[in-house]
Amino acid sequence: MKTALLLPLALAATFASGAAPATDCCPACSQALGQGAYSRASLYQLDASFTDDGGRPVSLGSFRGRPVVLDMFFASCSNACPLTVTDMLAVQRSLPTSQRGRVVFVLVSFDDQKDTPEALARYRAQRRLDGNWVLLHGDGQSVRELAALLGVKYKRSQDGAYAHSNLLTVLNAAGEIVHQRIGLVGGLDQVAGALVAAAPQAR
């Protein structure tokens, strides 16, 4: 009981101070560049499969080696999700040219019913998302597991909309969470900074 309550407190403190969890860069980078097992903190250990808006199967591990900024959303959302996507576009524009092509922008839908690959393809066109964006559909299980790993809470209401946390997550090249923006306002410089810091050094 005590653990359950203290841990969120500790995490809240970590995020509130804006400090990314300490990462041991060298093993992380070598792991990202190599082909070894995923690190113990890597989200890529998740055994879940998704489908992109072109209908291709995608495992999260396929992003290994590139920094990732990831948001969970649903395409018919008229509230917070469009704002977050707009913020992600702003982050993309703000990245140094040398980094812009390295970062993957990932949107994973909560809505396993309506957000089919076709619906996601329409969303891509509507929002003019370029080739560095990956839009993912997953079955209910995969979506729930990913949300659980990210700390995203969500609930489908009976009218088919989703109430959900607004959390923008940055993963390093090894798939470890290095930064999360909580809420809707500001914090884009920190997201961009985390992405640049997370990019593996060119050799």
Binding site: T3, L5, P8, A41, Y154, S157, Y162
Partner: protein, 277 residues
Amino acid sequence: MSTAPAIAPLLFGLILAAGPVGLSAQTAGAGAREPVRMLRIPSGLYAPFTRDPKDAAQVRVSAFLMDELPVTNARFLDFVRANPKWRRSEVGSLFADSSYLADWDGDLVPGSKAPPDSPVVHVSWFAARAFARWEGKRLPTTDEWEYAASAGYSRVDGWNDQKLRADLYAWFARPSPPVLPSVDTAKANYFGVRGLQGFVWEWVEDFNTSLVTGESRADSSVDADLFCAGGAVGSRDTGDYAAYMRTALRSSLKANNTTSSLGFRCVRDTADTASDP
């Protein structure tokens, strides 16, 4: 995230409240184990504790099969024997935090603090799900769990069962005993399911749907910035203290958290739903 500060004083107050601790005799669980009995929970209507004003007050829960008892240390030992990646020394921090199976003496030794027939605790949501899958089952949804637990000892509407309410409040007022009692001591409810209430907290599949933050007792509003469309969630019965506690606990949890009084049980779909009204 911001749930913790609000509910922590409330829960700590209860944990610190002094009270008698019941210990039970151990029974050995050696040899091949009989599969745990599963009971059929007939379909029925259930009023979710929190809901959006646009949602109907009641939802229909389809019939399902539920483990009669919470998962015990003995059953969980079978699981980690068969699945080395879920042993304490093997599991990754992403899937179970550092207190995973903390009351066990070793990877394959539950030890004296975790008797074979006591409920397994210190397990994460990921571990509980992996166990359920291994048994060909799944975790219950919040609706299923709450619906099954809404029954009293002898009547289907537990909220009007004074004995259950009294037992529950007594449980809340008592600190968790250092060694949890045998599941054999758990009382059956109207459906025949034992220990759903007043025993250990239990994981549910969709624990991460609890969008409560801040002042969880009043549950007045949710920070609109943190949650999209979460602002209007209201609660059914401000007197249902136990449901508040469960909602608050669920919303404070992360999927890799493990604690000393949080276990789980499994459910399974049943094809036999036709006979219910």
